[in-house]
């Protein structure tokens, strides 16, 4: 025992620099992820400020009841899941695709400009995106005026409700691609140039190099990024859905998600316990999802798992 203790002290001393580098992350995760987890208890309590978290009376599953009063939550859970899966897949194709394209551009000035333009939408808030969309695709928008000029009748995307799932996917991809590309671009930059040179000497075309060198090198990153995204697959992008869809009930029929629904429920009568219950419901689903995904990946190739 004493020997093990000495070993530990020795190891801490030996790896002090590495441990110090790890410290910020550990503190961040403990403070912002582990400690708040204690708040889960609120989901099962009738929270009273005077009594505090621990002393407030237990209320069983009462706080969860509001979610299931109507059967809507199941449909919204499926909506949220499907939207997120499509966002992840489309995002993946665009991000990897554009990262590869950017890495193949030889003109540095053009490359930087393209990257900057791709990155720009990431910094535009959803409120502004919603206004831009209204002014381009709305019934008084630019598109409408152009079409009217050419005698092609009036057009508004807000009346074409069937298109909305597609609209949301496109807008999300437009906003997200630039940011997502950075990670893959960094990995591509790290691939040894010798591999490409050797392939060139063997007469490989650009496509062959991408298929046999770039994509296999990106594989571990792709797996990790997808697994991390699956951890949030039951949490919708509230900002996007709330701003773009708003109170338009016709659009809500196909574009309502858990987050906007809970917002509508609790915005008029906020309740700490119910909010905690809704958060826990989403967390449990995300947890189950990531465990299954990780398990599947482990079966396919244990090297690519998260844990």
């Amino acid at each position: 025992m004493a020997k093990r203790g000495r070993e530990l002290v020795k190891n801490i001393k030996r790896y002090r620099v590495l441990l110090a580098m790890l410290l910020p992350t550990i503190l961040y995760v403990v403070i912002f992820a582990y400690i708040p987890m204690g708040g889960i208890v609120l989901a099962f309590k009738n929270y009273n400020y005077n009594l505090g978290i621990l002393e407030s009376p237990w209320c069983g599953l009462d706080n969860f009841r509001f979610l299931f009063v109507t059967n809507k939550i199941w449909k919204l859970t499926i909506n949220t899941l499907l939207y997120n899966i499509v966002f992840i897949l489309v995002g993946l194709v665009f991000e990897v695709g554009f990262a590869i394209m950017l890495s193949e551009i030889r003109n540095q000035v053009f490359k930087k400009i393209s990257q900057a333009f791709m990155f720009l939408p990431y910094f535009i808030s959803w409120v502004v995106v919603a206004t831009i969309m209204l002014n381009i695709f709305g019934s008084n928008g630019v598109l409408h005026h152009i079409l009217t000029y050419f005698g092609m009748g009036d057009y508004s995307i807000y009346r074409n409700t069937k298109l909305w799932p597609l609209v949301l996917v496109i807008v999300k991809a437009w906003k997200q691609t630039g940011y997502g590309t950075v990670v893959y671009l960094a990995v591509i930059t790290g691939i040894s140039q010798e591999l490409y040179e050797a392939a060139s000497m063997d007469g490989a075309t650009v496509w062959q190099k991408i298929r046999h060198i770039t994509l296999p090198s990106l594989k571990p990153t792709i797996f990790i990024m997808v697994l991390l995204s699956l951890g949030n697959v039951f949490r919708g992008d509230f900002g996007m859905f709330y701003q773009l869809v708003g109170s338009n009930q016709l659009l809500l029929e196909s574009s309502d998600i858990i987050d906007t629904y809970i917002y509508r429920m609790l915005t008029t009568s906020p309740n700490t316990g119910m909010t905690a219950a809704a958060g826990l419901y989403q967390s449990i689903l995300c947890f189950i999802c990531i465990m299954i995904a990780n398990h599947v990946v482990k079966k396919v190739d244990p090297e690519y798992t998260l844990f």
Partner: protein, 523 residues
């Protein structure tokens, strides 16, 4: 070696950055200046048995943006009023409109020092009372620690603020007709194109339709509105002589200008009633006629600014229409005329519970907080200082008892945050428009006080269903208000109602009626 050093430097810097960032997690450092301890020797609270020996800082939270001259006003209030008369320093903190909905509940559940806080029937009052955030103010406490306010406020005010027979906040001292909708229409367009004058509901709809037909020529949308404000519902209810049983909840009855309390059977849930169905159909007709843009449902621009910039032919709201009209005229974008579309309908003032101040349960010295609140509400000079700033700098009292604004008024505009502190004798603005004076006079002539005034509904026993109903309403309400369903409106109303039923509206209605019956029989 160099590499090792680099590693160490990096590690140490990272650790240092972490340590520095964690400092922010600690408790808030005391930044207030050393408080001066006063010996209270005179004033309204001197020699009345209050223990004022220890100096206290009372922190009050209100909604709105901090006026530029707030510090100067507070310094004067503390030096001349709170300090010498209560041995108190008042600190006022602001919750911005943009994020008060998130911050407000956090503030009360978290560890911040909050002694007094603004609340209202629309600003979390019922929810925070259920969560135990506000101190109950029983009769004895009020008479002892808010003696002047207790005397001054009418009993109606205390009735309206009570929840379940108990009082948790001190209401404002003056109410106006904030729930009654008036119309500002474009006088210049009416004259130029010979449009129908919107003197009643039917004429108003004709006016909107005529204006919509002229949109290509005028560039003005008949009612340029958006997804955030339901402009016509209240006015439609007025036209049907329908009143809400109590403010803030969608239970209605046909009052027909009578002050008699409705029987339980007369009470209907708005969205299940014929009134709503007819309203939805009329809105669909107006939408089809082009009264507003078909994309209004996805627009979030404030409709008041549409009227002010001249792109809307109408603006419907309470007395705010006059300032919107003034801004329209000042900017040279047109002229306006104000209409009371339902001028023969009786109207009630907004409830006293629309603005109030509560003492929090975590307040360490609720007695002194109550005295501070009492002083702010009862002393005319202090009250006007807080409402309008420094007399002679921000505003001036005219000989006829009205107030006029001075150059510095932009840095502290009248009553920009202290709505819950206002008094019955608050001076009117000297430059009130004649149209506004006429409208207010008519409002007073037509005032009615229904018998059930004072009844409030506490939905906590059906909270899950109440929340589910809220979600359904939020999903559909604006879509009906902007008539987006066209010919399918009737079917959509049915769909909406079946969703309300599955969310539990029948149980909520039953609970509402039972609380109402209990209130009325106790009365």
């Amino acid at each position: 070696m160099k590499r090792n050093q680099l590693k160490r430097v990096t590690a140490l810097s990272l650790a240092a950055v972490t340590a520095v960032s964690m400092v922010g997690c600690g408790s808030k450092a005391a930044t207030t200046k050393a408080a001066k301890n006063y010996e209270v020797k005179s004033g309204p609270y001197y020699d009345k048995g209050y223990d004022l020996t220890d100096h206290e800082t009372i922190t009050m939270y209100v909604l709105g943006d901090r006026p530029e001259d707030m510090d100067e006003v507070l310094e004067k209030a503390n030096d001349e009023y709170f300090g010498p008369n209560l041995n108190v320093d008042l600190d006022v903190e602001f919750l911005n409109w943009s994020d008060y909905q998130t911050k407000y509940p956090l503030l009360l559940s978290g560890g911040e020092k909050v002694d007094l806080i603004y609340t209202a029937s629309w600003c979390f009052m019922n929810e925070e009372i259920s969560a135990g955030a506000f101190k109950e103010l029983d009769d004895e406490f009020l008479q002892t620690y808010m003696p002047y306010t207790y005397e001054e406020l009418p009993s109606q005010a205390w009735d309206q603020i009570s929840v379940g027979g108990k009082i948790y906040a001190a209401p404002k001292g003056k109410v106006s007709f904030t729930n009654y909708s008036l119309l500002a229409a474009r006088a210049d367009l009416i004259e130029e194109y010979g449009l129908t004058e919107p003197t009643n509901w039917e004429n108003f709809k004709t006016y909107l339709t005529e204006l919509a037909d002229l949109q290509g020529e005028t560039g003005v949308t008949a009612l340029n509105t958006n997804a955030n404000r339901e402009q016509l519902l209240t006015m439609y209810e007025q036209s049907q002589m329908v009143q809400n049983v109590t403010e803030g909840h969608d239970f209605i009855y046909h009052a027909n200008n009578s002050e008699a309390a409705p029987s339980e059977d007369d009470i209907e849930y708005l969205y299940m009633s014929d009134v709503f169905e007819n309203y939805a159909e009329e809105m669909a007709e107006l939408a089809a006629d082009g009264a507003w843009s078909s994309d209004a449902i996805n627009d979030t621009t404030d409709p008041q600014s549409y009227f002010e910039n001249g792109t809307s032919g109408a603006f419907v709201w309470n007395g705010t229409i006059f300032s919107a009209g003034k801004n329209l005229e000042d900017a040279g974008n047109g002229t306006y005329a104000a209409y009371d579309v339902t001028s023969d309908v009786k109207r009630s003032t907004g409830s006293y519970a629309t603005d109030a101040t509560a003492i929090t349960t975590k307040c360490e010295n609720p007695e002194r907080a109550a005295l501070t609140l009492d002083y702010m509400k009862s002393d005319v000079d202090l009250n006007r200082l807080l409402l309008g700033g420094i007399e002679g700098k921000h505003w001036k009292l005219e000989s006829d008892g009205t107030r006029s604004t001075l150059d510095d008024a932009d840095n502290y505009s009248w009553n920009s945050w202290a709505w819950a502190l206002n008094r019955q004798d608050e001076p009117d603005e000297s430059t009130l428009d004649q149209r506004q004076i006429d409208a207010e006079t008519h409002n007073c002539e037509m005032e009615f006080i229904p018998e059930q005034t004072g009844f409030t509904f506490n939905p906590s026993s059906v909270q899950d269903k109440y929340s589910a109903v809220s979600a359904v309403i939020d999903e559909y309400r604006q879509s009906f208000a902007l008539g987006i369903y066209g010919d399918a409106t009737k079917e959509k109303v049915e769909e909406f109602r079946s969703q309300l039923k599955s969310a539990g509206i029948e149980d909520v209605t039953k609970e509402f009626k039972s609380q109402y019956a209990a209130y009325m029989s106790a009365k």
